[in-house]
């Protein structure tokens, strides 16, 4: 999913030779860049992976020579040190990347949400896994009444839950991790608070799992059931 732009492969940062773009001189107002370069710029901006001149030529329906000229023009504009974004040649293709000098700020921005509190969907999913583990994703979904896929993915990524084998039906099972215990300051799962404190109908006798499934199905409007 995230190829990280392969920013460790060195050598990609070659500045473009200025003389590569002589024909790019156009008659448009000073700071406007030619249409093809603008389109190429947009494509580079939108694409996750580096794009080759051939790919760009196909998409823009322009000749490869014209695309290379446009790239050279952009390379000049996006030369290292000029902007916050740089044009780089990587693995035979072109890609836009943020300037490494901006990385501290980027880290402050991007790593921040990971430390913040859990979203309601994440808290619910985590609670279900914590109290009912091991449990499969379909069951989590049934209890929540709505998909838990993205919450599960985030919890996995944050290392709060982990896989724990497969159910008899082949679904992956999840359990909480050691990191989970640490984050919540618990020595063991035994220390999870007693649900009875928050139970809206404590008189119910059935197992927690069964009750959660029943409530979830009622919420999802699983249809009238006597």
């Amino acid at each position: 999913m995230n190829d990280g732009g392969g920013e460790s492969d060195g050598g990609g940062l070659r500045p473009v030779r200025q003389d590569a773009a002589p024909q790019a001189a156009d008659t448009s107002p000073d700071s406007q860049i030619p249409a093809l370069a603008r389109t190429v710029e947009a494509l580079l901006f939108l694409s996750t992976d580096p794009l080759t001149a051939t790919e760009l030529a196909d998409a823009t329906q322009a000749g490869e020579g014209a695309v290379r000229t446009a790239l050279a023009l952009l390379a000049e504009d996006y030369a290292p040190g000029r902007r916050g974004i740089m044009l780089r040649e990587l693995g035979g293709g072109w890609t836009l990347a943020s300037d490494p000098e901006t990385e501290d700020a980027a880290r402050r921005l991007l790593s921040r949400p990971r430390l913040s509190t859990l979203t309601p969907a994440q808290a619910e999913t985590l609670a279900i896994v914590a109290y009912l583990q091991p449990i499969s994703r379909p069951e989590i979904t049934r209890i929540r009444g709505v998909s838990a896929d993205s919450a599960t993915a985030t919890l996995l990524e944050r290392g709060l839950i982990e896989e724990a084998g497969h159910s008899q039906f082949g679904a992956v099972l999840y359990r909480t991790s050691t990191a989970f215990l640490k984050l919540f300051g618990l020595r063991s799962l035994e220390e999870l608070p007693d649900v009875a404190r928050w139970d809206p109908t404590p008189e119910e006798q059935a197992q927690l799992r069964e009750r959660l499934l029943r409530a979830g199905e009622a919420r999802a409007g699983a249809g009238p059931e006597g």
Partner: protein, 256 residues
């Protein structure tokens, strides 16, 4: 095509569908005299003659006909069985008006949104995830920084069961779909039966709930039903084999 193009030739009205709606709302056509089944049949004929199904129009039609059905059933039920219904004509009118205004409001708002969206045509955003090394957390989350009560609370919330099916205008349903389902299933063991048999001697409410139960059986693929003609007998038979794949076939029952 739009629904406006649907021409009707009914006992009490002939003209375009749109006009019919207007007249019903202005009370110039009596909804109680209007056979909604005829409207549905006219629409089906119309579809057949065009040879294609326009989903948008079909959706619109279903919404409108469902509204008419609801309105009509309220009008029918609001008499004679008042004790079942907690609703006065004034209240019904108010509620209906509010719903019509709501529907109209949000349909107009949706048109506005569609316009906004088309105005943004071609504007795209970058979806590439930021490089992993920039997303990596620098500071480890502090031990014990989260309160375990959050988890207990979440479970408590998940244990909440919503109130049972929303049967809006009915104060106290005396018959449950579950009961009627059980009843139908008993009959179904014989292989087939008619709807009339299933509701013999029953009051209106029970008939309505039984129909609902029948829909449920159909949805679950337990039974098939067919109705040879409008207001004719509804024949119900057990479906065997293909357990949970309800066929796309006609679901008969146009009684209305």
């Amino acid at each position: 095509m739009s629904l406006a193009a649907l021409e009707l030739d009914l006992d009490v009205f002939s003209g375009p569908f749109d006009l019919l709606l207007t007249l019903v709302l202005r009370e110039e056509v009596d909804l109680l005299e209007l056979q909604l089944a005829e409207v549905v049949l006219a629409y089906l004929d119309h579809l057949e003659s065009r040879g294609e199904l326009d989903l948008e129009t079909a959706t619109e039609f279903i919404v409108l006909i469902a509204a008419l059905l609801e309105l009509k059933s309220r009008l029918m039920l609001s008499d004679g069985e008042e004790e079942l219904l907690d609703i006065e004509p004034e209240q019904a009118a108010e509620e209906l008006l509010a719903r019509m205004l709501d529907a109209r409001r949000y349909r107009a708002a949706s048109a506005h949104l569609a316009e906004l969206l088309s105005g943004e045509h071609g504007v795209r955003f970058r979806e590439a995830p930021p490089p992993a090394h920039l997303r990596r957390t620098i500071v480890q989350p502090q031990e014990g920084s989260q309160d375990p009560a959050v988890l207990g609370e979440a479970i408590g919330r998940l244990l909440l069961t919503p109130p049972t099916i929303n049967v809006r205008h009915i104060a106290v349903p005396r018959v449950s779909v579950g009961e009627r389902l059980a009843h139908l299933r008993t009959l179904l063991r014989r292989g087939s039966f008619s709807f009339d048999e299933a509701v013999e001697g029953a009051d209106r409410m029970t008939v309505a709930v039984t129909l609902f139960a029948l829909l449920e059986l159909y949805k679950r693929g337990e039974a098939d039903w067919s109705q040879g003609e409008c207001f004719g007998e509804i024949a119900i038979k057990a479906r065997v084999g293909e357990a949970d794949a309800p066929p796309l076939a006609r679901a008969g029952g146009l009684a209305g």
